[in-house]
Amino acid sequence: MNKPKMNVNIASMELINPIIGASGTFGNGLEMEDFLDLNKIGGFCSKGITWLPQEGNAGRRIAETPAGLLNSIGLQNMGIVEFIKNIVPQFRNKTDCKLIVNVSGKNVEQFENMAKMLELPEVAALELNLSCPNLHKDGIVMAADPITTSQVIIAVKKVSTKPIIVKLSPNVTDIKIIAKAAENAGADAISLINTVLGMAIDIKTAKPVLGNITGGLSGPAIKPIGVRMVWQVAETVKIPIIGLGGIETLDDCLEYLMAGATALQVGAANLYQPDICEKLAQELEDYCSLKGIQDYKFLIGKANPNFRGEIFYGQD
């Protein structure tokens, strides 16, 4: 049998395979080259970039919880100007691994301005971070409001020619409403889930463990939430979904694909197994070969009878 097809097109972005390093766990890509070959993975999402440089949150930022990682970094980053000057040019000759820039604005104008500045050939797509839970004490995010979500997307679509991926938060009452609003506003794809708002208390000091009190939970602990939300959104919208939340094994990839994800992001696992993205891309290909699946895309939505996205028919 021929090698299975692993490539995928999301909006106009062609990925060599559906494995993408998730924002905040992959640095700006180059840091990971010690551990893997970037040209073996579909792409990665940059650390969340803001209009101005940000120092992030004070105090302790990381805590391990059962099968999970609680973090409250607070979007520490160099800001859009420095990012464009120093990071983007390094991707000029990297054709296979797509640079998806994760942008995080405080308001519609900042999103719009950053999108304009990122009309650069090295940038494959934008991922709008409407869902960082660590920017406010109460963890309220833009992605909790369908109207704000729409406004940001409409503004960005007006000025950007890039595929627009909207990253959604699980910290909402009904993800379907937000996802539908994103699709209607013109989003090209949706990525979900961002981290789940959580906290931990140090019982010895009787104080919250994290300096910011609350943080975002990631890792295997949140996988069932991510799979459920991808499933729900796959029943709601037709645009491609990039599934993430606790992916660390081939089985996790398959679950997300079968729930209705077209591509996958790997997050926390990069921190403890920094070659994981390359491994998963290979394992997914090997799985398809072994099972006689000619195109991994046949797996998309396979478990979901109400899947509304594009169905790839074929022998499997």
Partner: protein
């Protein structure tokens, strides 16, 4: 940028050297070749999926010719407990070497260690000895159990020990020991290195500053990755008159004491 890799390493030995403290010796063919004192490895301690994050440990010894490295650790939580139960012959996954090591400078170095901070400074002492420089080693620990062990297996150089409970040698902390030692000594140190509890390092730095000496401190923070992508282990660092958050894992763990905002 320093080269770093993921390596599966066989456990040569994993012994309790005094109550609750272990010395882990590993065959690390590649990492041992790349490592320098002050750098560290991230170890996947437990095999259970409940525990996902690796834990960082500074090099206690690096034997490039024998392909060996060792670390010393205290059993403090679930991961160090899991590590203490791993047996020789088993494989451990390591990422390393990580971070920047100690800049090796000076002719009369003073090394001030507290608790498990003796591990990376022993490694540094060995590096000095290889350059025919004898360091002065001051070590503070809780009691005679630790003191006894290191008195029998001393690092390179002259070793002075303080115990908090007074059960071995000097009674008090290591900075008090320094202050009592110096007036009677003719030694003129030209550089200071410190590793241990933060308050101890702060006191050491303040002492060094009073004496116009450069002091390098190996800082500790809870880490997510160990190689600078999660930005979880930051501390405010003063450079060129500006304060910014730097990663202990990537920009450290060794910092010039001048750059550290001690009363953060």
């Amino acid at each position: 940028m320093n080269e770093k890799i993921i390596e599966s390493c066989q456990i040569i030995s994993n012994e309790e050297i005094f109550p609750n403290y272990f010395k882990l010796k590993l065959e690390a063919t590649k990492i041992s070749k790349l490592a320098i004192p002050g750098q560290f490895v991230e170890i996947k301690c437990s095999l259970e999926r409940e525990h996902i994050i690796r834990r960082p440990f500074g090099f206690h010894s690096i034997e490039k010719n024998a392909n060996l490295i060792s670390i010393i650790y205290e059993v403090r939580g679930s991961e160090t407990l899991a590590l203490s139960k791993r047996l020789s012959g088993e494989e451990l996954s390591l990422i390393g070497p990580l971070g920047n090591g100690f800049p090796i400078q000076g002719k009369v170095p003073l090394l001030v260690a507290g608790g498990t901070g003796i591990a990376p400074l022993s490694c540094l002492a060995t590096a000095f000895a290889e350059k025919k420089v004898d360091p002065y080693f001051f070590y503070g620990c809780n009691d005679h159990k630790a003191a006894n062990y290191f008195a029998k297996k001393p690092p390179e150089g002259e070793l002075n020990i303080a115990t908090m409970d007074g059960s071995f040698c000097f009674h008090g902390n290591v900075v008090e020991l320094l202050n009592s030692y110096l007036p009677t000594s003719k030694v003129k140190f030209d550089v200071v290195y410190t590793c241990g509890p933060q308050l101890m390092m702060q006191k050491t730095y303040e002492w060094a500053k009073e004496n116009n000496l450069t002091c390098f401190a190996s800082m500790e923070r809870v880490m997510g990755c160990g190689f600078g992508v999660c930005l979880g282990c930051t501390l405010p660092i003063l450079k060129d008159g500006k304060t910014s958050n730097s990663c202990v894992c990537k920009d450290g763990p060794v910092f010039n004491g001048e750059e550290i905002i001690w009363d953060e």
